[in-house]
């Protein structure tokens, strides 16, 4: 499935392929065009240029009816005047099944999503989580060419979201159809997707497995978008580099990190260092390998503690330390970045290693 198109800024020159049985998440801040992509796949919106293919067939000019897709809407779009059962039966009429077959399909789907008890109720009479399950059931009851989910969990509370996430993942595993999920919640994307597509302002920033986008962000945006607490992005000058050690200047103070090998000379000058808050180790005394910060705000997060600190020249740094370290506000800390987990971005914000 290829699609690329341009013209207005909602989505620009996007090229994305989803394999059979693969789950791809479109992830990005609201307004980045991810829903527009989904709607173009569904046929609810026509691309201004570019084409959509389903299994090699060009469907760009086809209506949603002709494309045979199943979609879960953000607001569920359950038909308010119909009962849950009628809602589930609705998409089956087009498949020209016998009524016995329709009933058995409804029974199957409602069993998988535990809806058997509420089949007789109207959408206004059931809870938010149940509505969500009905919406999913209405999608999986069919035999479509692909599944589309538009922010399926955004309207649920935290607890429900977690259980639904697992449930949807389980359902998707059994379907082995190409699936696209739109979400702005990175946890959702990281847990459910085989591949994640990170978007900003209508442009794809990176496509990769959950591990790839977390461990090897291709640019500063992806680095800052994925992972909580947010990655520290430090503007530094690259001074000197050899195989053993690379020397940076952070706010005028030298910082030496072992980058494994020599960094290319062409990068000398302004670069960005990306270090996750969890990739720091505490040390007792100041050294050229450590950054010295003064802790300002302490946020206990249970097993760990998040510390917001500042260097002497006011650069903000977030550090996560195990709970055992009792840090006081105002205390001076010396933190050493784990050289294996340091990302380096060039002046344009793209990853260089």
């Amino acid at each position: 499935m290829t699609k690329n198109f341009g013209q207005f800024t909602a989505v620009r020159d996007v090229d994305l392929t989803v394999g059979a049985g693969e789950v791809v998440c479109l992830l990005g801040p609201s307004g980045c065009g991810k829903t527009t992509i989904l709607r173009m796949i569904a046929g609810l919106e026509t691309p201004s240029s570019g084409e959509v293919f389903f299994a090699g067939r060009n469907v760009t000019r086809l209506t949603p009816e002709q494309r045979n897709v199943a979609m879960v809407f953000q607001f569920y779009a359950l038909y308010p005047s119909l009962t849950v059962e009628e809602n589930l039966t609705f998409p089956l009429y087009a498949e020209k099944l016998s009524s016995a077959e329709r009933r058995s399909r409804v029974a199957d789907a409602s069993e998988i999503l535990q809806l058997s008890d509420i089949l007789g109720r109207k959408p206004s009479e059931i809870a938010e989580g149940e509505k969500q399950r009905v919406a999913v059931a209405r999608a999986i009851i069919r035999d479509p060419s692909c599944f589309l989910f538009d922010e399926p969990l955004s309207r649920l509370d935290v607890e429900l979201r977690e259980s639904m996430r697992a449930q949807i993942k389980e359902v998707l595993l059994g379907l082995s159809k190409p699936t696209v999920i739109v979400t702005h919640d990175q946890l959702e994307a990281l847990t459910m997707a085989d591949r994640i597509t990170i978007m900003r302002d209508g442009i794809i920033e990176q496509i990769g497995t959950p591990h790839e986008v977390f461990a090897q962000p291709q640019n500063v945006f992806v680095a800052s978008f994925i992972g909580t607490p947010q990655m520290n992005l430090l503007g530094v000058q690259l001074m000197n580099s050899n195989d053993a050690e690379t020397e940076f200047l952070l706010d005028g103070e030298p910082l030496k990190i072992s980058m494994g090998s020599k960094v290319s000379d062409s990068l000398f000058g302004d670069v960005t260092l990306g270090i996750r808050p969890r990739a720091f180790a505490l040390q007792d005394a100041a050294s050229p390998a450590a950054i010295t910060i003064k802790s300002e705000i302490i946020e206990p997060m249970g097993a760990e503690t998040l510390i917001h600190g500042r260097t002497r020249s006011d650069t903000e740094i977030r550090v996560v330390v195990p709970r055992e370290h009792r840090i006081q506000s105002g205390e001076c800390l010396h933190v050493i970045p784990d050289s294996g987990q340091v990302q380096l971005f060039n002046e344009q914000g793209n990853a260089v290693r």
């Binding site: 207005f8 909602a10 307004g31 829903t35 953000q74 607001f75």
Partner: protein
């Protein structure tokens, strides 16, 4: 194209193109045709108005249609409405329509103002300080408006005859005030009901009195609603016929009554003049329909249906 929020997208009305415009234009035009003929007739001389076949086109459209279907537009009818007299074969005849227009405006205006003052207070009361049996009161109030006018008019006529109010401005204004009150109360209540009570609670906590809440917080928020109510009230009152027919005298006659009397006799009905009167009233009506399109639904259902 600007980015549309997801919620707007869910609410947005489906779009159709110019094809739909063409279809709707034809249908609307056919529907509007009777009104259009009224407007055209208003510009016709008496003989043109009675011509067979009907002359539907002003003469500047002569290049389009045969000449026998065209007429020469004249403002004669409009002049007659206000000039107190026009000539039919030389004899001066009093139309009196300037008086009737004044009566209609004066009577409708004062009764709407009165009803607005009394009704807004009542609507605020019904909305904010529900009485025991609040819904019953409101039901009775609406019912008085829904009643056939003839039911109310029989005793009112007796009452007016006894008190000497028949044929006076006071009488008809009082009656129209009562006629407008149910509408005003229901309309204004529907507007007050829509206001967020949080703002009023906040004002009370900040030490505002009940009167302060009403005048400083609530009223400014319903000004548009007040205007809409006033305009609908004016139209309803202006159009009212039966009360005016039975309770106005020669000096206090309103336009609809005068119009109905103009067509009383079968011969010599001044169709052009009638058309001119109606055309004059058409202008405010069309303006209202345009500017109050969003309030129209509420207006014609007395505030019982908001959207």
């Amino acid at each position: 194209m600007k980015w549309i929020s997801r919620k707007d997208r869910a609410r947005e009305v489906d779009r159709a193109g110019w094809g739909r415009t063409a279809g709707a234009a034809i249908a609307s035009f056919i529907y509007f045709f009777p009104v259009l003929v009224i407007i055209i007739t208003a510009f016709k001389k008496h003989t043109d108005a009675l011509a067979v076949p009907a002359k539907l086109f002003p003469d500047f459209m002569g290049w389009l249609v045969p000449e026998r279907l065209t007429f020469t537009p004249t403002l004669e009818n409009f002049v007659s409405v206000f000039s107190r007299s026009f000539t039919t074969g030389g004899a001066a005849q009093d139309t009196g329509f300037d008086l009737f227009f004044f009566n209609s405006i004066f009577i409708a205006g004062s009764s709407v103002l009165l009803a607005l003052a009394i009704g807004t207070l009542a609507a605020f009361g019904f909305s904010r300080y529900p009485l025991k049996g609040n819904d019953t009161y409101l039901f009775v109030i609406l019912t008085t408006r829904m009643l056939p006018a003839i039911v109310v008019i029989i005793p009112v006529m007796l009452m007016f005859r006894i008190t000497g109010l028949a044929g006076t401005y006071t009488g008809i204004i009082l009656l129209y005030t009562a006629f407008n009150l149910p509408f005003t109360i229901w309309m204004m209540k529907s507007f007050f009901d829509e206001l967020s009570p949080d703002v009023e609670d906040a004002a009370r906590i900040d030490g505002s009195s009940d009167r302060g809440v009403f005048f400083k917080i609530c009223m400014p928020q319903v000004v548009a609603g007040l205007a809409a109510t006033a305009v609908f009230g004016l139209i309803l009152t202006w159009n009212e016929f039966l009360f005016a027919l039975l309770l106005t005298g020669v000096d206090t006659r309103t336009v609809p009554v005068a119009m109905s009397q103009t067509i009383g006799g079968d011969i010599g009905v001044r169709w052009g003049l009638l058309a001119a009167i109606e055309t004059l009233f058409l202008i405010p009506v069309i303006l209202v329909t345009f500017f109050l399109q969003n309030q129209l639904l509420r207006g014609v259902t007395f505030g019982t249906v908001k959207r």
